[in-house]
């Protein structure tokens, strides 16, 4: 598991497929090899009690780690990520007196996966309960495991096919974990962060040319 950076690709046309097509073409020019598909989906459960502290429980699956369920608990002050076997999903109905999911908030990113040298690029279209929302690009550099070491290298790579939407500064999530070993949990947490941004943004994330990476 190398270092992963997640980036919202601005989609001014709001059509989705046009922009992904463009990215596909660009990346194929870089001698990329398409190697299958990927999905990352996220369900969010909310506390049902009337008591003050509202906690959110994000249940995330990543097709890269097909037998793992990530449960990310957001208490407002801190986040705790639990990696569990996918049987954890069966436990959730037993907790429904405390946590209930809202089906219409189910959000997922689906798309194609490419390999370029030691890089893995995943171009995903984000849909929330069936409606197209944004384009998310995940870039992973496999041989390196510390964001601090390879950020500028990855930035160079990302700029080579995404252009100016890649900001020179690190995403804030990675900023705090600059010298830690990157884990699959970090990837999933970045997804949750982006998904939250997309959910909360009333307009298309793509229309804001700045994206929301920094």
């Amino acid at each position: 598991m190398g270092v992963t950076v997640l980036q919202i690709f601005p989609d001014s046309s709001r059509s989705g497929c046009l922009e992904t097509e463009k990215l596909h073409k660009r990346i194929m020019h870089l001698d990329a090899v398409q190697c299958g598909m990927f999905t990352v989906d996220c369900d969010t459960c909310y506390t049902v009690t009337q008591t003050g502290n509202n906690r959110k429980l994000h249940i995330v699956h990543n097709s890269e780690t097909p037998t793992t369920t990530y449960a990310i608990l957001d208490t407002g002050t801190k986040q705790i990520t639990l990696s569990a076997d996918y049987l954890f999903d069966l436990l959730l109905p037993r907790l429904d007196f405390m946590y209930q999911s809202k089906k219409n908030l189910k959000i997922e990113s689906k798309g194609a996966k490419y390999e370029i040298g030691d890089f893995v690029v995943k171009i995903g279209t984000v849909t929330m309960s069936g409606h197209y929302k944004a384009i998310l690009v995940e870039v992973e550099y496999l041989p390196c495991h510390t964001p601090a070491l390879c950020w500028s290298l990855m930035r160079e790579f990302m700029q080579s096919f995404m252009g100016s939407c890649v900001k020179p500064t690190l995403p804030s999530y990675l900023q705090n974990r600059l010298h830690d070993i990157h884990t699959p949990q970090d990837t999933v947490q970045q997804y949750v962060e982006k998904f939250n941004e997309i959910r909360e943004g009333t307009t298309f994330a793509g229309t804001q040319t700045t994206g929301s990476g920094s």
Binding site: H24, A71, L82, D85, L90
Partner: protein
Amino acid sequence: MAMPVNVPHVGENLEAAMKSQIVPDQEFLLQGSVLDTSLGVVIDRLRGLCDNADILPETFHDHEVVFVLKDFSAMSTPGPASQGVMLRVRRAMDYPDLPYQLRYVGYPELGNYPALLRNCLDIPVSNNVCEFLTELGAKLDHEFIAKGFIMKKGRIKVTVFKMYKMGIGMAKDNLEQMTMSHMVELSVLTTKTDMSVAEDLRALADQLKPLVQLERIDYRRLGP
């Protein structure tokens, strides 16, 4: 359109499995105990009955922490919300590298089954599970240490173990034993559709008979 997107994601697979009832979430269980003095006899008998009779039975040394998840602020209302759910976290003390196990155990089902039947989920989790559960709203209920042997015969899991209370400071040598007996459990995980294995469980229990009385015991019906 760039490419057809048809990756079945994890949740869908699981739902399909649930529908066809092939998820091994049912557990048959028979419980009994044996006095410490007769432990050797029982172990010898079990070694003869179980697989791999030629090697010594595997030992385990687990620490179990039980959490109760419920709405602690609304105590009076009846129903599952006030009753809560017990979540058990198990950790192998002798193999610190193994993942923690989060275990949900349902109440025994009513009905005339050869062994105690209950819903059971064993979920391997990362080691921050205790912190996670606490933040989720669960509270520590109790904890104990279980030390003993594990064997298997086909699909049946046989555990013989002793339970210890956690002593002050929880030093390794400062363990207070629960009783003068070892617990003996025969269990097998199965699916809703496959109940045949319960008979095997019963047969194995009968082989142990005069030494250990293995029965389906519902802990809720025991004395106060």
